[in-house]
Subunit: 425 residues, 2 copies
């Protein structure tokens, strides 16, 4: 872009990211920060044109910075802001801007307040975190001791943030993005995300092929698969917000009937949130009896704040003796049908429901792998049962070979079974 | 580096990576290819100095290529080699080198052989995949239809590979790395990662300040914090592998005593793996009685393959009635001391130990937040107890304000309590 473009009062939103840290170059840490920021920028209609990763090495950081500043209107930097010796971003920024590190009272007060909330003393080393380049505006770090830094330099904005993901994310979302958006040309972008479970990406695409081909030119559909679910993100851009919203609603309303049995929620609502809301609204309680999910299903329920209103508890019955002693499963059933069977998983659900006096009890039993599979019951074979006030249902699933994904897909399938049942209560 | 350096017959191993694809910039795909290649290069003693990600846009790819070639001896490119219209790497490479796409019989024979193995016909679209820049040597793709390309250009080697991870990985490991190593100076690089828990980055740095300052010039320490733990990575480089390993061992041996109470493992071992190994070796069993961790602790245990050898099960006692009915906690204790108290958490652990007949029982009770805190017991207050064959221990922790992190830090602290105890058994 020409300098004359950059001199306009409203910018176009040309962005670059520089991530700093040897750990990114030697593969010890995957660069999830960059992809997360890229997604946020894209969702907000900004154009990320490059991501550069360099090590904790002064000349490399300086080179990357000079190049990015010559091309972009906004340069987002993460990493190298910790209180330790290998974190050199701040002195390098000073060298780049020709400024000096000075004590910043505002930043220090924020660090002190964070320590006070945690009932801890501020150390000398933390005091150095309030030493900031003299030409920066500090950005508050709600979750850590390293403040962010905002620089304006020859019509480019340079924003330096910590590399710790949850610190960076809160700062980026709450403070950086709103300010960036106020500086760029206005354009309305709308997104609607439809959460689906129980159908693969290519089958989903087949189901909605005609609908997708008829999308207006200013709308775009993205398939975002992750273990056990596919998110469909519909994005539209235009000049008139109301009109855009109207078309978005129409498009979503015509999409849902095509895939209604797979849609469990919208806009990144998790399955556990959706199910939790349904339980709360119906004033029902739930508990779990878990073998192959090993506590992960209970964890999903209890990861939701306020879940104590409906989640009472679980028995994790990893050993068969726990299944018989605690859940009243017949040991003869385990011998005859195996622990991974309709008979045993239904008995687990019924046992838990009675023992914990809950309205709904979910039970899981399967072969998570990588060992323990047989020809008849290969790794990935999972039985899930749901005991309800009206009886019991159960279903067999065949997932894949990867232990972690088998556990998470089993838990999701169990939640979905409860969701489909709750819709009828 | 000077051109004279690059003219030497043996190179130093200065590498850069360029990953191509819009999906990387809008956050749809996390750049695991780059971190995997970075790890492989590092393990093989090569120096990766930069990773650049650009979109499927000709000028951006050309810029990135020109810059990388001016700095590096080896440039590894992934992505943009598929048969679809948005994959433009090959024509861009032709433009860069001033060469043309020509039909390459060797590459076509390989594609044909792959299709024959899969019992499929070669399509016209696949034939275009054998059109390669005239100045390249094709690199065989064992797992797909897009061949890799090897270019020599002004003493820099440019290697273009497909973006599909398992295609790229096989090509990189089996064909690219061996050839690269034959072209570079030999140099040994060693890494050792020390895993710590229960101490923040800045306090850790204070504890090992003198040790760190006395590190030899060819050794470097990096602090890699993540929720509940800090990894310390010590890296050294030198000409003699044996000598380097000797110094590395000495440095690690002098470091450990300074922070022994916090070190739980080495080289990216997870806490649950370390604890699982200790349980397996000592032939002991474990179970959990969880309130605030809500099943997450059980999940960490059972995420390890083979955990059924030592993990028997859990009671997730989210509701107080489960604590009294299932774990034999006195309801008067809950009334008098509150559910988050030494008395209750110890009773939970003892109740579970007896009920499940395990050697060790861990119990957690805390205020995960964001609601439920009081002045006396703010959000983040967590009691953890461990019942052992020799009695019971318990400890109070004060974590932060974030629910998810309070849960994971509680589970880590519980595992660590068990680890420290198991070392004495």
């Amino acid at each position: 872009m020409d300098l004359s473009d950059k001199m306009n009062s409203k910018r176009k939103g040309i962005c670059e990211i520089i991530t700093i840290g040897d750990e990114l170059l030697i593969g010890q840490v995957v660069n999830t920060n960059a992809s997360w920021m890229g997604e946020q920028l894209s969702l907000n209609g900004q154009h990320l044109q490059r991501i550069t990763s360099v090590g904790d090495t002064k000349p490399d950081i300086l080179d990357a910075l000079r190049e990015a500043v010559s091309r972009a209107e906004f340069v987002f930097i993460t990493g190298g802001l910790g209180p330790t010796a290998d974190d050199i971003t701040k002195p390098v920024l000073c060298e780049f801007f020709g400024s000096q590190l000075v004590f910043n009272q505002e930043a220090f007060d924020q660090v002190k307040a964070l320590f006070q909330r945690r009932g801890m003393e501020v150390s000398e080393r933390n005091k150095t975190q309030a030493m900031l380049p003299s030409n920066c505006h500090p950005i508050k770090n709600e979750n850590g001791t390293a403040p962010g830094m905002w620089f304006e330099h020859n019509n480019t904005t340079i924003i330096s943030m910590p590399g710790v993901p949850f610190e960076m994310k809160a700062m980026f979302q709450n403070q950086v993005i709103p300010k960036v958006l106020s500086m760029v040309e206005h354009k309305t972008i709308l997104h609607k995300t439809i959460m689906t479970n129980g159908i693969g990406e290519s089958f989903l695409a087949d189901n909605i092929k005609d609908w997708e081909q008829a999308l207006p030119g200013n709308f775009k559909l993205a398939y975002l698969p992750q273990p056990g679910m596919v998110r469909l993100r519909l994005s539209g851009s235009g000049d008139h917000a109301d009109e855009l919203q109207h078309i978005m609603n129409k498009l979503v309303n015509s999409l849902i009937p095509l895939i209604s049995e797979y849609v469990f929620g919208f806009d990144n609502a998790s399955m556990e949130e959706v199910v939790g809301d349904l339980l709360k609204k119906s004033h029902k309680t739930v508990g779990t009896a878990e073998s192959c999910t090993g506590g992960y299903l209970a964890h999903l329920f209890t990861s939701i704040s306020g879940s104590s209103a409906y989640f009472k508890g679980s028995v994790i019955a990893y050993a068969n003796e726990i299944k018989t002693n605690e859940l009243n499963v017949n040991s003869s059933d385990i011998e005859q049908f195996g622990a991974v069977s309709k008979e045993v998983v239904e008995a687990m659900a019924l046992g838990l429901k009675q023992k914990f006096d809950v309205d709904f009890a979910l039970a899981t039993s399967g072969i998570a792998g990588p060992d323990g599979g047989t020809t008849e019951k290969p790794v990935g074979t999972v039985w899930i049962a749901l005991a309800t006030p009206k009886g019991i249902i159960s279903q067999k699933f065949q997932f894949g070979e990867h232990r972690g994904r088998n556990i998470s897909r089993s838990a999701l399938a169990a939640l979905n079974m409860l969701r489909l049942t709750l819709r009828k209560f």
